[in-house]
């Protein structure tokens, strides 16, 4: 028995590197009867121009396009998220990118050092270490080097432990637990993309 149900599960984000016509199979996973299959999968949705930025495809656009094939199709969406299409130039490992990443690394290192020095001055770290040294060894010294230098190395170890708490296991193909920095970057990106999608949806009108 042939059914005319079309199941569509949209992806949330697609990144493309060159200007091209976006087809439905690029932006969504589709399950339907084999009679319509090729026609729906290769249906063009949007042409994306050169230039970095975002395009948003709304679910209603997909519904309109599929309706244009056959009005009797029963379209069902799995998920309610719109699809964001990002155009990004393909840089790869060019010389400029490496230089830029070195500059950023230097900047972050300086910032981190300045921040930890600010923090030490704020909470009067020297007297805290002096106290620890006094409690443990009973000696009163002006600058407790035997505590301060291991402490400084410990700060580096602490940052390392915080950001790399899972041992990397690349032998099996399962998805490993990501580092907290990756989660933070992903959640920041997600908030921004949600904003773009909502703005685009609210400014759209049916024609």
């Amino acid at each position: 028995m042939q059914t005319n149900i079309v199941l569509i599960q949209p992806k949330s984000k697609v990144i493309i590197h060159e200007s091209k016509e976006i087809l439905i199979k690029d932006i969504a996973l589709i399950e339907c009867d084999s009679k319509y299959r090729q026609a729906i999968l290769n249906l063009p949705i949007l042409f994306v121009d050169e230039g970095s930025g975002y395009n948003v495809i709304h679910l209603i656009d997909i519904a309109q396009k599929i309706n244009s094939i056959d009005v009797n199709l029963d379209i069902r969406f799995i998920g309610t998220e719109d699809i964001l299409i990002e155009f990004a130039y393909h840089h790869g490992n060019s010389f400029l990118t490496i230089i830029k990443s070195f500059i950023i690394a230097f900047f972050i290192a300086i910032c981190a050092g300045a921040a930890i020095m600010n923090f030490h001055a704020d909470i009067n770290m020297l007297s805290v270490l002096r106290n620890i040294n006094k409690i443990l060894t009973g000696k009163e010294v002006t600058i407790p080097y035997i505590t301060a230098i291991p402490y400084s190395i410990g700060v580096g170890v602490g940052v390392y432990v915080f950001f790399n708490f899972i041992a990397k296991n690349k032998r099996n193909k399962k998805i490993q637990m990501p580092s907290p920095l990756k989660i933070e970057i992903s959640s920041y990106t997600k908030t921004m993309e949600d904003y773009v999608k909502t703005e685009s949806k609210n400014n759209k009108s049916t024609n």
Binding site: I104, A109, I135, L136, T137, P150, G158, V159
Partner: protein, 141 residues
Amino acid sequence: MKAIILIIFLLCAGAAGGITISSLFVALDIIPRLNLSLKNRAYTYRWQNSVLLGCITSTIIYSLDIRFYLADIFSVLAGILYGIFIGMLAGALTEVLNIIPIITKKFKLKNNERTVINSLIIGKTIGALFFFLKLYFKELF
């Protein structure tokens, strides 16, 4: 009467300090993260109790000015452990303040977490060393 009021007042002050410390631990996700690396949820109560025990004992030792007269190696050990804790605190603060996502987004640096983390580590260590050795240089000259 005066003493009772004072005791109640000090109890409240101590409770405020304790709540601050524990909310710092919880809000900055330090214990949950350590728990993740252990891959076992059975020890959560033990960890709570160790925070409690550490706070109380260190407060008593600090306020009664108790000294232990141990060897220097214990001071080194305490320095390392304290440094690891402060490093994790600094990492958590950096993460909460959303600096790194904004930088990587602005400068279009994706998949460069290793570089960022390594530069954070180097910067923190050198900054901390400089803070203490600056005084050492001042002492020399």
